[in-house]
Symmetry: none
Subunit: 141 residues, 4 copies
């Protein structure tokens, strides 16, 4: 099972629709299991950090098989992975907005990353993208 | 006049539809006048160099206000801009597939970049994206 | 169909055995379809450029779905892809030693990259690794 | 005394066998006294952060002649080396899984780095690799 281009596109749109409902302006990225970009969209008015932060949140989630929200605890000062944010060529983002996508067997298929709103908004948008993936794949995470 | 997110999205889809008609598998990127990514899509089966090459072709086109096809002559050995490919942090691409978008007054609005097919195919897909921009903006280049 | 870790390991060993038979000292890398490293070995006496050149030859081959040997023509001065060697963050190698691996349907599964010998030796070692892949997968390229 | 390629290969395999016994999925890297990669293997199912984190853990251990586990204390907020994680081009990893290898005279010969499991698992796998080195070298650390 692979993330298809059409699905990634639909995920991006679902996440931006969520942002509209929240009054947020975000960038959304979906990467495949290799961490390579498949689909990206920056909403009108969203900050230009989006192309790096949204993509790298998605990359971080797939590379470490964990949400960046969880890393915000694990990689914080005092956490077991403190320092991670400086590694990986500076591409590891350790605050919320990146969520990995798993198939039923636990294999990572890719990830979605959202940036531009408050962290809570980014997370909510990423979850909306994930919901779209579950719908279109009729799968379950 | 600015490139809107919806328009960029439509340009990306128009370029990929052109690729389908050519039997090519491409990545397509649209950047704004600041050279920052707005929309991106990598077709199923398109190579993973796309996320760097399509984005950087678009970046090159807007950054230098010229198509990368024209740069393939100007920046070739013997050309007046030879060496350009090593500048800009390695982001300047000097083969076809990146085309800048101008408004009527000559102001650069952004650019489209396509990578994954043969150079001629990439150029044709980028032109298809540009045609979509002209249609949706009812503007003229 | 995916490249398995055991197969990658066997490919690396096959390539280094070829190097021994040629009197060459090489590094060998195998990457998966996402361009991410699976297996690597640097022979005693092989130069320390190997960890970057062998890995990046393999990366280049999978990212562009073409051997780096072929790129040595296409990306040379006068070729349609001249300038490519400066793109992709400097990771695109355009001399022989990187060969992509395809399944029967033409899907890229990964690539092998060899560096350390003369270009002809590197290519021969990479081909030996590829032969091992075909043997162990009982597939055909 | 130098780390030989065959020994590094054996260390990598010993570390991955330990991972299998723990139910973990890891990447393992061995670097020489110059910090340059000798052997690497990413197990099927291990995350793609491994190629950067395992290699950089090993690099960190040999570069600083100390385990990354020890650095997790020394380089933590409040520790005497706080800030280290941002140095070295982002290649210094300050959580467990990288262990340097010394000869009897205290000369550093190289290091092993493991990434992909929980920190404790990574450390256990690295130690298994080290045990293999001691066995095959009949040396003592």
């Amino acid at each position: 099972m692979r993330l298809e281009s059409n699905t990634c596109q639909a995920m991006v749109l679902a996440a931006t629709q969520k942002a509209v409902s929240l009054g947020a302006f975000v960038s959304v990225a979906v990467v495949d299991s290799g961490g390579n970009l498949v689909a990206f969209l920056r909403m009108d008015g969203a900050e230009i950090a989006g192309p790096t932060l949204a993509v790298d949140k998605a990359y971080t989630a797939v590379a470490n098989k964990i949400s960046t929200q969880e890393l915000s605890v694990l990689a914080a000062p005092g956490g077991p992975l403190f320092g991670l944010h400086s590694n990986g060529g500076g591409r590891f983002v350790i605050f919320g907005g990146g969520i990995p996508i798993f198939d039923k067997s636990g294999l990572v298929l890719g990830a979605i990353g959202v940036s531009g709103g408050a962290v809570d908004e980014d997370v909510a948008c990423a979850e909306a993208g994930l919901t779209e993936w579950m719908r279109s794949s009729q799968g379950s995470v």
